[in-house]
Amino acid sequence: MVSPVHIVSIGLITAFLLGLGKKSQQQMLVFVLMIATAAMTMVSGSWLIGLMTGSLKPTDVFTAGFKPPFAINLRMTMDEAVLTTMVNVFGFLTVIYLFDVLKKAGKHLLSIIVVFLIGLNVVVMTRDLFNLFVFLEITSIATAGLVIIIQDSKSISAGFKFLMASSVISGILLIGIIFAYSYVGNLNIDFMTNLSMVKGGAVAVFLVMTAIILESKQFPANGWALDMYESAHPAIGSALSAVSAPAILFVVYKLMPMVPENWHPVIGLLGLITFAFSNFLATRQENIRRMLGYSSVAQGGLMLTVVAMSVYFGQSFWFIILGFLLTNFFAKAGLFWLNGIVNSDDQNKWGILRKRPVLFFLFGVFVVAMAGLPPFPTFFAKWEMIMQLAQGNGWGWIVLILLGSIFEIAFLFKWFGRVFHAVKDQPAEPVIPWFKEFPVMLFGAGILATSYYFIKYQQFDNLFVLIPLLIVAAFVVIDFLPAFIKNILLIAALTFYGYIIYPEIKGNIMQLVFMSVFLVGGILTLIPGFATKGTRAGFYPFAAMTIFGLIMLVNPGDNLTFFMGWEQMALGSYILILRGKKAERPAQQYMLFSAGGAYLMLAAFGMLPHFAGDTFFGNLSGLIPGAGVVFVLFALGFMLKTAAIGLHIWLPGAYSEAEDDATPLVSGVLINAGVLGLFWIVTSFGPQQLFGYDIFQLMGWIGAITAIGGNMLAIYEEDMKRLIAYSSVGAMGYIIFALSMDSKLGLLIALYYMVLHFIYKTMLFMSAAGVIYRTKTRNMYEMGGLIKSMPWSFIVVLIGIITLAGMPPLAGFAGKWMFYNAVVMKGWYLQGTMVFFSGIVAFLYLYKLIASVFLGQLKDNHRRVKEAPFVYLLPQFIFVIAIMVLSIFPQVLLEPLATIIPDRVPGEAILWDGRLAMTSFGYWNAFAVMTTVIVMFATIFLWLTYHSRKAQKVKQFNIVFAAERPFRPETTHVSYNMFAGYKKALGWLMTPLATQFWTGISDWSTAIADKVRSWYTGNGQTYAMHLLLYAFVLYLLISGGKIL
């Protein structure tokens, strides 16, 4: 086997050879460099493979014929093999990526690259402290050289700032090394583990460690690094982030054994502070390279935490660190390289990626991987890290991680959304040379392969996790096919999946109900897609991801699978929403609120084991004492999805701006994920207290206020989709209220209403999609009189709103009847009245919906409007049939639903006597009601028909217009500013408090971020000062003001 020392020797020989070359041979020299880096990769790679397969043993290379500590030794174990392979592969790809630059640059630049790689390799392998210092210096000098590949004033001054900073750092390091030597008499790391015990030795450890921590660019002493990221060539930024930073962190790891154990948490916290703050400041960056710089620094902070706490994490350490390390390696490098391809720091210019589907897809993969969403390794690593920290009650740590993560999501997806929509005004087809694309693609493959192994390692390669992901991947591959083929395939895949999963869940009615909602809902909402022409690129993978994510929620078995499904569903639906024409901002809001909810849940998952061990949160026995905080975190997380009042501001935008035929999926179907979660926590936790308050009581109020608020907001909407969207807020308030009653009847209402809301809301949104498809507008005051041209859509809306309003004879009435019973039983009269009032408010907007769209005057430009396409109507009528069946035979659904509710839930249940439903307050017979209504209706109808048999038919314009012609006819439309009178009376209720609150939060954070980042003045001396201050503060933190 080739000794690892040859990684260095190959590099050195190459550097000399390059020196001998002539200027005219530059291209050949680049190839020499390419071969050398390939050879270095092969040496370290063969060690990696050998160590993994067990054919090689970890080894030490001795130099100068002495054993340590008398001579320097290089070590090659699994750790070093991984890191040196990363460094060398990266070096090789950098040479390829920079091919055009290197061809023109002098041969010195080639040497600098080799020296940079040698430096990092030795920094990783050496066990000698002074040797470490020497090679850190070599790496620094080489880095300074690499920073000025682009020779402009920015990069040169950034390089100088870096040199100043590294001089200060190396001074601290060298003093530390010399003190260490004078205390223990040698320089070998492995012989220094007792250094801090020696009198004065702790100071030496402190100096060495501080220098390395400073070198790893921790906030806030990292201005020099940020300036370098901003001004250096993206390929170099990539190197700093993907290989330099990990190498330095590995040094921290090597040195940790000599660091006293009570310092570990201090260093760990420093890393997390960096993570949280750097991501926070990144949200304010417009310049992509600087933003990536902040993000790299943040990732470095997170990894520092893991490394510093390696003893604490124990068995999980490797899993966590590899998750972060590899993701950062592949994804960050990929993003920097894409920056080089786009060749602009302006987000809008990134639109050219949209012209290259593969690159754009990889861009998305990198962003999602960085953001820590499934199925990428960071997701699992973050989960494991939080679980471990929670076990040790490290709540403050968890808060920092989650804060940092949400900021990370904020800027990453703001960027992604901008690029997604920046496709306009782009030059036709960008010319991208193969050697720029190749490394990106390789790293894209790398992150995907890593994810696969992470999933496999955790034994998620099963029917519920891996298979759906593979289906999603398959849809990515066949994305070039026409939309209708993919539509057929996805429907077929879902049907088949339902067929094979049915035996697994048929015994569990709860799962069956939710699975039907998600699977059938998914399939039915896909059907209108047949009306789409073209390929509809990018829709199907994410539709599949959303639906399969939802399916994962139903039968998770453990908390991680549930959370994974939850995040997948959030990601998929985010993309579906983002696809809408004006959806950039709404989608961003949706993502932020989703992530916020998910992180609250993540914290709850972390706390849960303290109360319930490893049990899945939906399977608890109920009545777990003292878990109020966990319950509240879960409830908030789920209520973000169901858009409880105050947390609802994302909903109208997200639902209305999504593509019209995607809205039913992301609204009517997806919102039930929140209901599922709420139902689970209510049943499995039981009544909980928070600071002595009954949480169910609180939830009941939230539900009632949400019901009123959502409906009030709906009545003033001019936009058809926003109106229906706000109505969802109201409906969810109703469900939250029903759940919080925590009675048999209450929970039954919630489940029943969930199914019903799913049916009518999906139906209404589809119908709206059909109308919008034909009329090309969402404003209801631009419509009218469509009943003649779209009678079928009219019928659907009519059925939908009667159901929603809860009027007999349709299925909604069953809910209302149970509701009266439940409220009276519970004695929540005030809240109950509010919810009833909200039902009356609902009449107003339902009337508006049907009257202004279908009744009244037909608009001139809609004279030729046809009925909605058949594929739109088909699923709607399937839903209509379902409603009709439920209206006549509600027990078909209600009886099985009642069996789901656990026995511990108090209260009276419904007794069924054939078709008669009974409670102690009364009875109700849906069949009889239906029959009565039909008979009444038929009688009146026949009488009217008979009575008006001589009436004259009047066409639209066969009337007399009075007064003058209005200047803007649409303002005279009945639905324009409809209910203005109510607005005058109750408008004060509608003060957009929630919007103001969230805008305030956003403004405040912007202002704070701007204040904080003004710390980075751009002056090299200030940065050097920061380093010294940081060291000083760190000393105070560690020593507590005493002499070490």
Binding site: I141, F160, S167, G171, S182, S231, G1018, M1025
Partner: protein, 123 residues
């Protein structure tokens, strides 16, 4: 007076030089002066290294007729820091050289050597 050994004088002088160097590097506005300050810092650092390894009454670790070949460990000062300091000096020179190169380039881009003129990247 017992503290006034050669080693302590060396250490104190070394640390003083380091502080002077740092002070200069943080307060001088002229880039060349900053570089000079860093070389002073380096010199102080190297002096500290040498002083730490100094043992009173011993000689440099070079074998010649005066030292003989026996009991060398009792005659010599610690040779390792002596060797390290050489490396450190070399690195110091290297870094100074690179910094001077940067100073030259910076002057060429903006015709100024005032560090405050090079704040294009910030926040």
């Amino acid at each position: 007076m017992e503290y006034l050994t050669l080693q302590n004088i060396g250490l104190v002088t070394g640390f003083m030089l380091m502080l002077i160097g740092l002070y200069g590097a943080l307060t001088q506005k002229n880039i060349l002066r900053i570089i000079v300050a860093f070389t002073i810092f380096d010199a102080g650092l190297n002096l500290v290294i040498v002083a730490l390894s100094y043992i009173k009454g011993r000689v440099a670790p070079i074998i010649d007729q005066t030292t003989g070949v026996t009991n060398l460990s009792e005659k010599f000062v610690d040779p390792i820091p002596q060797a390290l300091v050489l490396t450190s000096i070399v690195i110091g020179v290297g870094v100074t050289g690179v910094m001077l190169t940067f100073a030259l380039r910076m002057f060429k881009t903006r015709h100024s050597l005032d560090i405050n003129d090079f704040k294009q990247t910030k926040w």
